[in-house]
Amino acid sequence: MRKYIFKRLVAAVLTMWVLITVVFFLVRLMPGDPFQNPKMTAEIRANMESYYGFDKPLIVQYGNYMKNLFKGDLGYSMKFTNKTVNGIIAESFPFSADLGIRALVFAVSFGLVLGIISARNRGGKLDFFCVIVAVLGTSIPDFIMGAVLQYGFGIKWGLLPVAQYQGIEYTILPACAIGFYTLASVSRIMRASMLEVASQDYIKTARSKGVSEFRITAKHQIRNAIMPVMTIMGPTVASVLTGTFVIESIFAIPGMGKYYVESVSNNDYSMVLGMTIFYGVFLIFCNLVVDVLYGVADPRVRIGER
């Protein structure tokens, strides 16, 4: 097990290095640069460029960046003056993560339940209802979902606050809006997987033993069906927890999503890199956790036992 994780860590470091290098050079290939301002005089511009080290050759800039990165320093933002990238992440990630966790709990629990109910009642009315939910969830874009929720619950019925982030009740609508897509895909995958497991020979074996239908579902079906859901959970957790630009804008939440998108359009090189690294590390970590959890669910993929 330890050896396996060590191998994975080495692979992760390599992956990150490639990712950082590619993004480092890629952002500099984008048209424009961070200091596009018609009011800026040539002198100020030269000052700025030397402050951020832009006057040095690209390869030296790269070397410096990597050196700082080893110390955990992601540098200063080029747009939000006097703010470090580390600072911005530390300040905005908790909002995104808090919202994301709520969205995930909501999405995964309801998604699994819907998928299981749906598969158990295949072809019935409940199944039809669940499939409708799944289709709506995967096909309605989140900005429409967010706006509809705001209008319905916030304005029309006045049940929940429309926007901003000041307490638990403020998180309900955005969490639903973010989670709905995940809920739909979890329920769809779970349904398909449950149905596939239902036709397996060992389900028939269980039935021949006189095991009740409830126990067959609970004990034999679910655990074998959960693997495909776990597979999508790695990337989903990473992307949901690091925030979504659209929902955070609609609900005026000071999360990470906004910074990520704006940094790209602003040509804020250090922000783009910092956010990418943060997201990359997070994604790799989530996938590693999923791989370890596989073994918990399925003894066949348990690694390094004995």
Partner: protein, 347 residues
């Protein structure tokens, strides 16, 4: 044999499946009985309805799409088709065991072997947890699993194919049922393991005295194991009798064809086997007459449109074939003392 008490009886069972293409008549009017302590073989080629018939007895076919069109299945006097879910589950738990064809896929990969055996006792209040474990270990020893304490805690993927099939047999036998249905239990195993498993079943029959229904397409298995044999074709029984009668006094052209298509020890090198020409009937539109007529070398005009009557050839030996009719031409299959059985007359 005939005097042994019969405890399972199928009467005119008709079983079909709804599919997108229409109704598939998988089992058409099948009647037979199983007696205490005997091994009954059901033989026939793929798709002849032997597995569906066997699964009917425990109602293991998925319903829907499967459904009974008629008939009754009497187990110890009770009609399986009229049982409540609770009675059905009790019967599956305590009275009948089922060994499936493919041990690789028939065990739950995420459950320990011991737990899967013990599950048979779930919902029973008359045995304590400790007793259940003892029973599981005892049956594992009985089916020849070595190092049972260790195996008990292992997962199926840690066992070999033969070992898994032993576990399957242990599951089927742990509650000491009066009947075990083996659906091609050795098809997916290699010949050495097959021999071991068959010997094990014979040995267990001696020890525990249960009856076995042995489903197979392998006449070798039938010859080795069975007291009585049913030959099925196109969802129907074409011939039944003692193993002796089926092998040495064959009365149905299909059975004869089956015998002709297996390799024997004295088959000379280069000598070709005789296959049965043609393909089995389409069960979406089963033939009106004898299902085998289209492939039968003896076929007469009467065979195409008229389902054959049953003819009793001896105490056990019954065949459904027009060749036994008194007006039929003399062939090597025609028996002298064939007596036509009237509708509903089951011997």
């Amino acid at each position: 044999m005939a005097d042994r008490e019969k405890f399972l009886e199928l009467k005119n069972v008709v079983y079909s499946f709804h599919t997108y293409g229409g109704q598939v008549k998988a089992v058409r009017d099948v009647s037979f009985e199983v007696r205490k302590g005997e091994i009954l073989g059901i033989v026939g080629e793929s798709g002849c309805g032997k597995s569906v018939t066997a699964q009917c007895i425990m109602r293991l076919n998925p319903e829907p799409p499967g459904f009974f069109e008629g008939g009754e299945i009497l187990f110890e006097g009770k009609d399986v088709l009229k049982m409540t879910n609770k009675e059905l589950r009790k019967m599956r738990r305590e009275d009948i065991g089922f060994v499936f064809q493919d041990p690789m896929t028939s065990l739950n990969p995420t459950m320990r072997v011991g737990a899967q055996i013990e599950e048979v006792f779930l919902g029973r209040t008359d045995v304590s947890k400790k007793e259940v474990k003892e029973k599981a270990l005892e049956i594992m020893r009985l089916v020849g699993i070595s190092d049972v304490e260790k195996r008990y805690k292992q997962y199926p993927h840690e066992l070999s194919g033969g070992m898994k099939q032993r576990v399957m047999i242990a599951i089927a036998l742990v509650s000491r049922p009066s009947l075990v249905i083996c659906d091609e239990p050795t098809t997916s195993l290699d010949v050495t393991i097959e021999a071991q498993i068959l010997d094990l079943l014979l040995e267990l029959r001696e020890k525990l005295g249960m009856s076995i229904i042995m489903i197979t397409h392998d006449l070798g298995v039938i010859a080795r194991m069975c007291d009585r044999v049913i030959v099925m074709y196109g969802g129907k029984i074409v011939e039944k009798g003692t193993a002796q009668e089926i092998f040495y006094d064959t009365a149905h052209p299909y059975t004869k064809g089956l015998m002709g298509s297996i390799a024997k020890l004295d088959t000379a090198k280069g000598e070709k086997l005789t296959p049965i020409e043609g393909t089995p009937p389409d069960l979406f539109f089963p033939p009106k007459g004898c299902p085998f007529a289209a492939r039968c070398e003896y076929a007469m005009d009467v065979c195409k449109d008229n389902p054959p009557c049953s003819y009793q050839l001896s105490g056990e030996h019954v065949t459904n074939c027009w060749l036994q009719h008194e007006f039929a031409p003399d062939t090597d299959l025609k028996k002298e003392n064939a007596a036509e059985l009237k509708e509903g007359e089951v011997k």
